[in-house]
């Protein structure tokens, strides 16, 4: 087999493994962070410091009784969580996790696929994420699930527009849709959030909404919809829904870092690499490490917001999306265009 293909396969498998591992420990971190913020201790019984808690949770999920409601649409009831999980894992293929590494005398890039429409692909996958929730919610044949599914679809479509407009401003200023090129451009200049502060803010808020995370967790608001779309789910199917949310959180943190915070690049990168005398592979490893630090910061940020803000009311959510974020995003595009024209980048 060709070495390039072999490397890609290894990378894909590693991608899946890392995504699942990070998602696993995100559930643990979420419980810990919420505990710290509420002056509690959090899970600390399973293993040293409670580090085996995710495993215990997973075993619990698998051992629980599997309940499929009699009146549900059985095929779609099973397909729902599968779709949610698949779409969650798909977006990871486009993220550039690092620069080049040298193995077996050849150079490989730490990215599964570098499409020239990468940004659009990510956007497309995000728009498909709602299907898992909608199918699952409808197939449960439960009014709370249906309400959750309907809220999810309305919310995600509304915030996709603002997100897309924020991305357009980013594409305008970077001039490319390849994620690797976007990341590499920020090595030479400043990180993109300096050029696109408003765009970054809009993108971040929309990411919260697309992830169905607090303060936008309307589809699953446990106090009013008793879990929303996953009310009827139990056992590992429920686990897949919850897990998909954490994988989405990991991937969207990686996307935010790549789009606005330079991906695997960091300030004074070349100077530091020269001072330490690192080889290409080692420098890439350092960059990937830095990238993961940034990603973890954003995962923490998502949790931080969740345990700080209360949930929006539905009309407030829609008003924010349609009446604030979309006009702001259009304004952002306009300002970006004017600034680029004044700088002579476009004529």
């Amino acid at each position: 087999m060709e070495a390039g293909l072999l490397f890609k396969i290894i990378l894909v498998v590693a991608m899946f493994a890392v995504s699942l591992l990070v998602a696993m420990y995100s559930t643990f971190l979420e419980r810990k962070v919420s505990a710290w913020m509420q002056n509690r201790k959090g899970p600390n019984r399973a293993g040293p410091l409670g580090l085996l808690q995710p495993l215990a949770d997973g075993v619990k999920m698998f051992m629980k009784e599997e309940i499929i409601p009699n009146v549900s649409n059985k095929a779609l009831f099973i397909i729902g969580p599968c779709v949610a999980m698949t779409t969650a894992l798909m977006a990871g293929a486009l993220i550039p996790w690092g620069g080049d590494i040298e193995l077996w005398g050849r150079t490989f890039t730490l990215q599964v696929a570098d499409l020239n429409i990468g940004v659009l692909y990510i956007f497309g996958i995000t728009s498909l994420g709602v299907y898992g929730i909608m199918i699952g919610g409808w197939a449960s044949n439960n009014k709370y699930s249906l309400m959750g599914a309907i809220r999810a679809s309305a919310q995600m479509i509304s915030y996709e527009i603002a997100m897309g407009l924020a991305i357009i401003a980013l594409i305008m200023s970077t001039g490319t849709m390849s994620l690797k090129e976007i990341a590499d451009q920020q090595d030479a200049g400043l990180a993109n959030f300096v050029y696109q502060p408003l765009g970054f803010l809009i993108f971040l808020i929309c990411a919260f909404a697309e992830l169905n995370r607090a303060p936008f967790d309307m589809p699953e608001s446990e106090s009013e919809l008793i879990g929303g779309y996953h009310t009827e789910y139990s056992s590992m199917k429920l686990g897949l829904f919850l897990f998909a949310e954490y994988i989405n959180m990991f991937i969207s943190s990686a996307v935010i870092v790549t789009f606005y915070f330079g991906g695997y690049h960091f300030p004074f990168q070349n100077e530091i690499n020269e001072a330490l005398g690192l080889s290409t592979t080692m420098a890439t490893a350092l960059g990937t490490g830095i990238m993961f630090l940034k990603v973890f910061f954003f995962i923490f940020f998502f949790m931080w917001i969740r345990w700080t803000l209360p949930r929006f009311r539905y009309d407030q959510l829609m008003r924010l999306g349609w009446k604030s974020l979309i006009p702001l995003a259009i304004l952002n595009i306009l300002v970006t265009g004017v600034v680029m024209w004044m700088n002579g980048k476009i004529n």
Binding site: I117, L120, F123, G124, M134, I150, S153, M156
Partner: protein, 165 residues
């Protein structure tokens, strides 16, 4: 290799297209339509039009079909609620559909097919597509955007409450 992918996608598109028509449950119809869209997006990629493929998925599968699902879930369609159609409506439908089929078969049966040759490999790349859209086809592009704007204004007008009756 490409041949097999083409045949697989075509088979999938036609099969799920038929299932859209034949499935009793409207929600199933919409989901089969989504699969059809995916198959067609696959065809676009085979034709080296990645931008079109992704936009097809984003717009049709990601937005329009979600709205369809949204409406269908709220409608609570079931067999008893379905209005009984009159016989002459069914006959008229069969005749008009058959005539359309006849026309299509007659047209495409005579059309000469040429083997598909990629004249320009970079035609589907976003930058080139944008250049073509905004230079050669600027007028149709702008006109269609005005059309969409008109539709938007119309939708807002329809949904607005009348203040004074």
């Amino acid at each position: 290799m490409t041949h097999y992918v083409f045949y697989f996608l075509s088979f999938l598109a036609i099969l799920s297209g038929l299932m859209v028509v034949f499935s009793k449950n409207p929600i199933h119809s919409v989901l089969y339509l989504v699969i059809t869209f995916f198959a067609i997006a696959g065809h676009y990629i085979l034709l080296n039009a990645q931008f079109l493929a992704v936009v097809h998925i984003v717009v049709y599968a990601g937005a329009i079909m979600v709205l369809f699902l949204y409406v269908l879930m709220l409608l609570n369609l079931n067999v008893s609620a379905e209005p009984v159609k009159k016989t002459w409506v069914k006959v008229a439908g069969v005749i008009s559909g058959g005539m359309l089929l006849l026309t299509l078969v007659a047209t495409f049966g005579k059309a000469e097919t040429q083997p598909l040759i990629q004249k320009d490999a970079t035609i589907g790349v976003t930058a080139n597509l944008g250049k073509i859209l905004f230079n050669e086809f600027a007028l149709p592009f702008e006109i269609s955007s005005v059309l969409l704007l008109g539709a938007m204004v119309g939708a807002i007008m329809l949904s607005k409450k009348e203040v004074n009756k």
